[in-house]
Subunit: 232 residues, 2 copies
Amino acid sequence: MDSKILRNVNLFSELNDKELEKVSELSSLKKFSKGEVIFFDTEPYLGFYIVIEGSIKIFKIVGDGREQIIHFVYPYNTFAEVPLFEQHEKIKNDQFTYPANAMAIENDTKLILVRSNAFYDLLHKNNEIALKMLGALSKRLRYLNNYIESRMKDIPHRLAEFIIQEYKKSGKAETNRIEIEITKHDLASYLGTIDETLSRAFKKFQDEDIIEMRGRNIIIKNLKKLAVIAAE
Amino acid sequence: MDSKILRNVNLFSELNDKELEKVSELSSLKKFSKGEVIFFDTEPYLGFYIVIEGSIKIFKIVGDGREQIIHFVYPYNTFAEVPLFEQHEKIKNDQFTYPANAMAIENDTKLILVRSNAFYDLLHKNNEIALKMLGALSKRLRYLNNYIESRMKDIPHRLAEFIIQEYKKSGKAETNRIEIEITKHDLASYLGTIDETLSRAFKKFQDEDIIEMRGRNIIIKNLKKLAVIAAE
DNA sequence: CGTAACCTTGATTAAGATCAATTCTCGTGG
DNA sequence: CCACGAGAATTGATCTTAATCAAGGTTACG
């Protein structure tokens, strides 16, 4: 695999050529098409992934088979690093599985798999990497904290939060139009609900003249009201 | 503060005397009585804590003022480490607050506050500490993952999970009796519900002859059934 | 032994899931 | 270019779970 790609990954930015080469040797580029499963939460842990192109979703299956999306991962971000820090012997003996399921949500999704064995040594030698990982994990912890907090609010509330978040992400300067990149089904799952309930929440916002919709495009007509709903 | 106490904290086990002394200098032992607030999520971040004696709860306040307990912390465990790994400049300028609220749940709860400035240097020099922190954070991530997963199940399910977990913790060998250490109110909040609903769930289990209760003592009469409920 | 904190019980209400139909959208082949 | 069909999205009716509201009962402890 070309070690040049790795250089763009924030996690590896401090590595010298030799180290980069080492990671590269034990990493591999993998391609997935839309809907393809990257791993199930029952599979033994091999290593963590970096998204290079496309996007993936991390999800759990609850009781009756419904999926609950925990997050989406976009280029140059990593996922499934957590088991790395278990006792290494256990990973070697396949005693660890992935903590959730992962699936590609776009065609031509390109990922790098970094095998845990390769990474283990590096982590122990290179303090800078450990610190970067700490940064990444703490970011994830903060995210999960927010996630848990927002799960205590009702669905319109969560949807309002989501729309505002997307609005902030998307330039926001000149236009009030945002486009959601995922299917409504995935959005419902991400918000912790089902298609019908999401649909009704969208309808409610339209009836109240807060948004206008055109397929996957949302035009925000009353940001203030939306913010009020999101805030409480 | 006596640096001998610090030696018992797993996080610091690899430190030499000099390093330990350094941490000690910038740490302080604090005592709290039951119900005393350690920090609110609106206060600027000073550093993380280690529980030495007693116990504390970490919680969020949701919309209407109800509290939602995220976890309990017991002796020799740390809490509120996450903001440590933010850009240090921001912490210095008080731009970070604690991520949630913390309160003592026992009298004579003794905590050590490790100020982030002291710790910052250490973390950058001592790879072993960074690795231990990685272990601690990944453990927490796994915990939150489970927490999110269990929040998708109904209350009897979550209660069954809790009872089994407690049963496993408590020796479990000879007796089926377990004692819950926290109030039912805190348990309700931890399970993400209210007192009345928890009470009804307990009643349901008693009516079905799964458990028997005597105050805060639970006698498990049918572990198998309990496991079935917990499993789905 | 009295009072406050803790816990339980019952009746009612509300949010969202489930079940069951439609309707909409869009790509494909005739 | 149109018609068809499949998947996506919407809508309505009903059901379930747990929150809310309102009393009571229990326990612990000064």
